[in-house]
């Protein structure tokens, strides 16, 4: 019997086809409706576009909402927060893996514990602290840079540390014999070796920060400091005036940086994700 015609194979292929269609449908719908002219957006979303009005849809929101400004904010938060977190995490991973520390496991778990707690636990105290007179960080760019960096350190630390323990200890011993100090050993010998893990951590945290909403709306309020998802979420809220095609066009553009990052660095992304399987 032909292998391709066995009932099990046929059944499997049908199942995969159906699942693929289900997975593609939402993506397809957002593309179609982002280009749908507002005038033709009647009752309910379209399945086939009646024209190409993507840029008109985008422009309508671009001019009336702080969308563009918040895109730049998020770019800064994502690059700054992820970059700082990965840098600090790598320095600390070097500390607990390569340097002779007592009880490295305790330090590991203290730093890593940050990812175990639900974010809701941090929100109110951070808001209170930021709003305290003398600190005055509520609704500033600084508070989000600080909070995002801190939120990203535990996982970046986890990824870089897991990578560093796979490096042979001879690397450090050789450097030690050469008389390299710890900082020089880290920056000139370990950093280049750990780069794949650093990239993986950066990609992960960039996407996370870019897509983040909760702290964005808890710790900032004005458009000049809010992240992009806060302005996207505001468009779809009750009483918002934006039309479906306009919201879709904006959602698409707001998704581009994270999706591009994901597609370009997909290999690293898998590395970061699967470090959980340790």
């Amino acid at each position: 019997m032909n292998k391709a015609l066995r009932p099990g194979i046929v059944l499997r292929n049908i199942a995969v086809l159906v699942l693929s269609l289900i997975w593609l449908a939402p993506t397809y719908l957002i593309l179609v409706n982002a280009m749908q002219p507002v005038a033709d957006a009647g009752n309910g979303p379209a399945w086939f576009p009646s024209g190409f009005a993507f840029f008109e849809n985008l422009a309508a929101v671009w001019e009336t909402s702080p969308f563009a400004e918040t895109m730049l904010n998020s770019l800064m938060y994502a690059v700054g927060g992820a970059g700082l977190a990965v840098l600090f995490a790598t320095i600390s991973a070097f500390g607990v893996v390569v340097m002779p520390v007592k009880r490295p496991k305790v330090w590991f778990w203290l730093i890593y514990s940050g990812t175990l707690l639900p974010l809701q636990v941090f929100a109110f105290p951070l808001y209170r602290a930021a709003a305290t007179e003398g600190i005055d960080l509520y609704d500033t760019k600084w508070i989000l840079i600080i909070v995002y960096t801190a939120l990203c350190i535990p996982f970046a630390f986890f990824v870089t540390r897991n990578f560093m323990v796979t490096l042979p200890p001879e690397v450090a011993q050789a450097a030690k014999l050469d008389g390299a100090g710890w900082w020089r050993m880290l920056f000139s010998i370990y950093l280049p070796l750990v780069r794949p893990a650093m990239v993986a951590g950066f990609v992960f945290q960039f996407i996370y920060i870019w897509n983040e909403l909760f702290f964005g709306i808890s710790l900032t309020i004005s458009p000049e400091n809010s992240p992009v998802m806060a302005s996207v979420a505001a468009l779809s809220g009750q009483g918002a005036v934006a039309q479906t095609p306009q919201i879709m066009a904006v959602s698409l553009v707001a998704s581009l940086p994270a999706v591009a990052m994901f597609l370009i660095f997909q290999r690293y992304f898998t590395t970061g994700l699967t470090s959980n399987l340790g």
Partner: protein
Amino acid sequence: MTTVQAPKTSVNRSSGPRYEFRDRIAAIPFFGISLTIVAVVLLAPFAYTLIRSFLGRGDEGGFVGLDNYVKVFNDPFLLKSFANTIIWALGALVIPVALGLGIAVMTSSMKLGAVIRGFVILPYALAGTVVAIIGNMMFTTEGSVNQVLHAIGLTAEGEGIQWLLYWPLNVIAAILISSWQSTGVVVVLFMVGLQTIPRESLEAAALDGADGWRRFKDIIFPQLKATTAVVVGLTITNALRAFDVIWVLTKGGPNRSSETFALSMYRQTFLLLDPGVGSAIAVVLTIIVVTCSWIYLRRQIGNES
């Protein structure tokens, strides 16, 4: 793939106690920098929330013992929120894990498997906010889902299902659209798990004539147990923490009917200005999340020692 090995990296055990002491001091700024940031920005707020959950409403609420916790489990809105949290933990766990496992196994030996997995993984890069906006377009009463149901004759004209307006359909709709996003991660993790299954055991099974479902049940799945534990732990903790999708899709409504604890904490603290009860909700959520994390962390810890 990064795998964790037991660290055997004390570099200079042999260079004498005096050096070792100096190096230990030298290590403090290295691990201290991350530790300080995490301690100040994350662990200290956590401690504050823990304490705050025993204090009353307002700034001079004083110590009220377990009152806030009692309130959490007496408030009808919060009880419903608790029920929704459990529904989320189950629904947003079972759907992505079952579909993700199925997709990984079914596509692993297909020619176009990688392309199909790409479709499934892509939504992971989308923001919860955008996922909710897509979900709203699909599940609103005039939305795409009802258009499909009408087109295939399951519902009559003008009698579309009101997905987002009533409990429990609004919770289910949110779980479905969230599963659309989260299944990709499960697929990636199971693909890695599948690669660790020795080819010989699969081939031996094929020679035995163990086919399809039986090969999956008897040979593949038992070897994916370790992966499954990690996947279950990660997926359930992410489901419990979900905020953005629900907040943008329904704001937890109507009438707080689709709220989960992640949202209740926000509403209670920031909108109803009752941080005592809000903190108690956060602490209960933490207990649930940490307990569930244990499912996969146990393995991590096992590897460390």
